[in-house]
Amino acid sequence: MLATLVPLQAVTFGLVALGAPLVVLTRDPLRQALVNGIYGITLVCLFVVLQAPDVALSMLVVSGIAYPLVILAAIARSRGEDRKKERDGS
């Protein structure tokens, strides 16, 4: 069983290593929220491959629901304020 798991582990580790810099290099906050969600999914895959289903589920709900929620709320606010400023300025 271990022999079949090693390539899987290598692939998921690689995906995580690839995903983390992608999150950092994405500058637009809205896109960053999406990329971060995808990065979360790669971490979920890693936890599943390492046989930690409970941690995987926690990661799934935190990176998929709880965290984007806070970011999107903050983005909605800042964009709304930008628009308000434009309106007030014109």
Binding site: D54, L60, V70, A73, R77
Partner: protein, 249 residues
């Protein structure tokens, strides 16, 4: 500070940090090497003693039940803090009128399907948490997420009844307080706080684990209502500067 000076400071710092990091990594145990005795003990002990086939839940709600109570109250304190800082009755009424409708029917249909699926999976995760992977936290967040989708696909008015904080507040208290009440019940019956009082039942069924299912549901309710409360507070704080509903059409 010029760019050159900043790079001059950054380079040696980065090199020093990198060296320390490499040194720390080199001293780590090999990949997959497990040295914690507790995990091995729990793996052998939890299923025979507590009849919960998910050892993680047996650990979080029984073996270290007090720690889980602390974690639950961290979330509770966070929600109380956000509520105290952000709750504003006037804005709550304004937010009702100022939400844009989702224009794409396809996205709305997908959202409605996902509400049903999310509720179902959330309920399954909470109720079967101590049998299969899952539990109150994961299921609770998913349940809240499914309810929040109602806000995304509908409009503020459809979602209205689910963000009445005066209805959510007692539920949150029920979830957070229920955990403590179970612990105190054990204390009242003459044993230690949070001792597993009820019969352990048949392993692998919903009627197993004694007080673990009740604690699990208490934390599930506490977590999902906490998420809804947080979202409700964020919503009324953040949504106000947006355009009035259907302004673009």
């Amino acid at each position: 500070m010029s760019r050159r000076v900043r790079i001059g400071i950054l380079t040696p710092t980065l090199l020093a940090l990198g060296a320390l990091f490499a040194w720390a990594i080199a001293g780590l145990p090999a990949f997959g090497d497990y040295r914690g005795p507790y995990g091995l003990v729990l793996n052998r002990v939890v299923v025979p003693l507590r009849h919960t086939t998910n050892v993680v839940m047996g650990t979080t709600f029984d073996v270290r039940g007090v720690d889980t109570m602390g974690e639950e109250f961290i979330l509770y304190a966070a929600v109380v803090g956000v509520t105290l800082l952000l709750r504003d009755e006037v804005r709550s009424r304004q937010a009702e009128r100022r939400t844009q409708r989702l224009r794409s029917d396809a996205v709305r249909l997908l959202g409605i399907v996902m509400i049903g699926g999310g509720l179902l999976v959330g309920l399954w995760l909470v109720s079967f948490g101590y049998i299969t992977p899952g539990g109150g936290f994961q299921g609770g967040v998913l349940l809240a997420g499914a309810v929040l989708l109602l806000y995304v696909v509908g409009n503020h008015r459809d979602y209205g009844p689910l963000r009445r904080q005066h209805a959510l507040d007692p539920l949150e208290a029920l979830g957070a307080g229920g955990y403590v009440v179970i612990g105190l019940a054990a204390l009242a019956s003459g044993t230690a706080f949070l001792t597993n009082l009820f019969g352990h039942g048949k392993a692998g069924t919903l009627l197993s684990g004694g007080s673990i299912p009740i604690l699990n549901w208490a934390s599930g309710i506490a977590v999902s209502v906490a998420m809804l409360l947080l979202f409700a507070e964020f919503l009324e704080t953040y949504v106000v500067p947006l355009e009035p509903e259907d302004s673009g059409s």
